[in-house]
């Protein structure tokens, strides 16, 4: 029996008077790959940013790995959640190696030597073994995002969140990042991925979640979502994204 590693129950998030999430329920099981799709402004980023508390939810419950998060709770469980950002957000004043080693040293208490060892292994795994001494600005977008993935992995998280990891990339670099993510999906780590890459969703997702207007409108296995969508909003969304 796979236990849920993320449980969201009736989660509400407002920005001032504007409700970005209208009571969302979502469960993610350990090792599951969930892809979140939906039009711009539908609340996808808000949803995953609530999971690691970059946004604090106003209502409902979020339980990560058995521990409730948010509402002022100081919980170490969030160090089990890694995040990869659309705009990479690498630390520009550190080498690539330092970027990846920093978290393990400061949060996990590893020595620099041990953390840099780990960082080198992870950089090799994302195909950047020879770039460790460079600074982020010296890398292409695709390379930077792979460093972003290595940085998140260095914490050995149980859950990885991706917020449109390929949306800021030139088209020719999207593939290299998706390849790394696809490899990652086979390792048993839990992934929640917001993306517009429908090919990735079809191939890699265990489950696809469609959001619209701050609600989860439909969810299911990829072949059902893509081949037999029920909700008219999902149908028109798929028509729009798959037609170009």
């Amino acid at each position: 029996m796979m236990r849920p590693i993320i449980e969201m129950k009736n989660v509400v998030k407002s920005f001032g008077h504007f409700k970005a999430l209208h009571g969302v329920d979502l469960q993610v099981k350990e090792g599951e790959i969930v892809v979140v799709i939906g039009p711009s402004g539908s609340g996808k980023s808000t949803l995953i940013r609530c999971i690691n508390q970059l946004e604090e939810h106003n209502g409902g419950e979020i339980i990560v790995d058995g521990a409730e998060v948010g509402h002022g709770r100081k919980s170490t469980v969030l160090t089990e959640v890694g995040m990869v950002f659309q705009s990479f957000n690498l630390f520009p004043h550190m080498t690539v190696l330092r970027n990846v080693a920093l978290g393990p040293v400061r949060v996990r208490g590893l020595s620099w030597a041990a953390a840099e060892d780990r960082a080198e292994r992870l950089l090799a795994r994302v195909g950047l073994g020879d770039q460790a001494t460079k600074y982020p600005a010296q890398l292409s977008g695709g390379q930077q995002q792979r460093v972003g993935i290595a940085r998140a992995l260095a914490m050995e998280p149980k859950v990885l969140l991706f917020d449109e990891p390929t949306s800021a990339l030139d088209p020719e670099m999207v593939g290299e990042v998706l390849d790394v993510m696809q490899q990652l999906a086979k390792t048993g780590v839990t992934m929640v991925v917001v993306t517009h890459e429908m090919g990735f969703a079809r191939k890699v997702a265990d489950r696809v979640v469609f959001m619209d207007g701050g609600r989860i409108v439909e969810e299911g296995p990829p072949d059902v979502i893509f081949n037999a969508p029920r909700d008219p909003r999902l149908r028109s969304f798929l028509q729009a994204v798959l037609s170009h």
Binding site: T79, V81, N89, L90, F91, R106, V107, R151, A152, M155
Partner: protein, 233 residues
């Protein structure tokens, strides 16, 4: 005839304002004044830097009473003329039992004011670090302290180098106010030497020394600004 008179008056201008003998005689006095000025300036710059950083962090991240205190401090010490503050510290505080040396009074006044200006510079620097940097640090699980020391401050300090240098120039210039409380700084020693020699050459020398010390810093700020403008394009 006319050219003779002109030659004479040029000579006398030199004798009066750039008298070599007076210059050589009073130079030791001026140099001791310069040492005091530099000590005072560097002390105030360092204390102002540290105080400014602490104030900026309090203003940005402290909770209610402390934050309000920081805001009030910054506003008050940016409003008060340094000369007034200096006179208050030196002449008024003794009435409540706090008697500072002229150096102590001058260093306090300059540091207190410099800290207020530095605080606003640091705040702007921290706010100029992209939001994504804070988020990436938090997502990694860094503590608030590590987020600042490892991620935000190194980037903010780079941003504030030009305005902090500008502020340091101002502090250095304002050290001259200390002569009012009888501190033997460069200006005070120059006026002293002028009285002794009955000749204004020491004053001119002091002015030139101020310029020689500060002009490189002024140029440096220019270089920083040009470099920023190029990068910003």
């Amino acid at each position: 005839m006319a050219t003779n008179v002109e030659a004479l008056s040029v000579m006398s201008i030199f004798d009066t304002f750039l008298n070599w003998k007076v210059f050589v005689q009073t130079l030791p006095l001026l140099l001791s004044g310069l040492t005091t000025t530099l000590t005072l300036g560097v002390t105030a710059i360092i204390l102002g830097f540290i105080g400014g950083l602490v104030l900026a962090l309090l203003r940005l991240y402290a909770s209610s009473p402390l934050r309000q205190i920081a805001v009030a401090y910054i506003d008050i010490f940016r409003s008060i003329p340094i000369l007034v503050l200096l006179v208050v510290i030196y002449y008024a505080l003794p009435f409540v039992g706090l008697r500072l040396s002229s150096f102590g009074a001058a260093a306090s006044a300059l540091s207190l004011v410099s800290a207020a200006y530095s605080a606003e510079i640091f705040r702007a620097g921290i706010e100029a670090v992209p939001k994504g940097q804070f988020e990436a640090a938090r997502a990694l699980g860094l503590s608030p302290w590590r987020l600042m020391s490892d991620v935000v401050l190194p980037q903010a300090l780079r941003i504030v180098i030009p305005p902090i240098t500008s502020n340091s120039i101002n502090v250095m210039k304002d050290t001259a106010l200390a002569s009012v409380v009888a501190m033997p700084d460069l200006l005070k020693q120059a006026t002293q030497a002028q009285a002794l020699a009955a000749n204004p050459t020491p004053l001119i020398s002091a002015a030139v020394i101020y310029i020689l010390i500060l002009m490189p810093l002024v140029r440096l700020v220019g270089v920083f600004e040009k470099r920023l403008a190029v990068r910003g394009r």
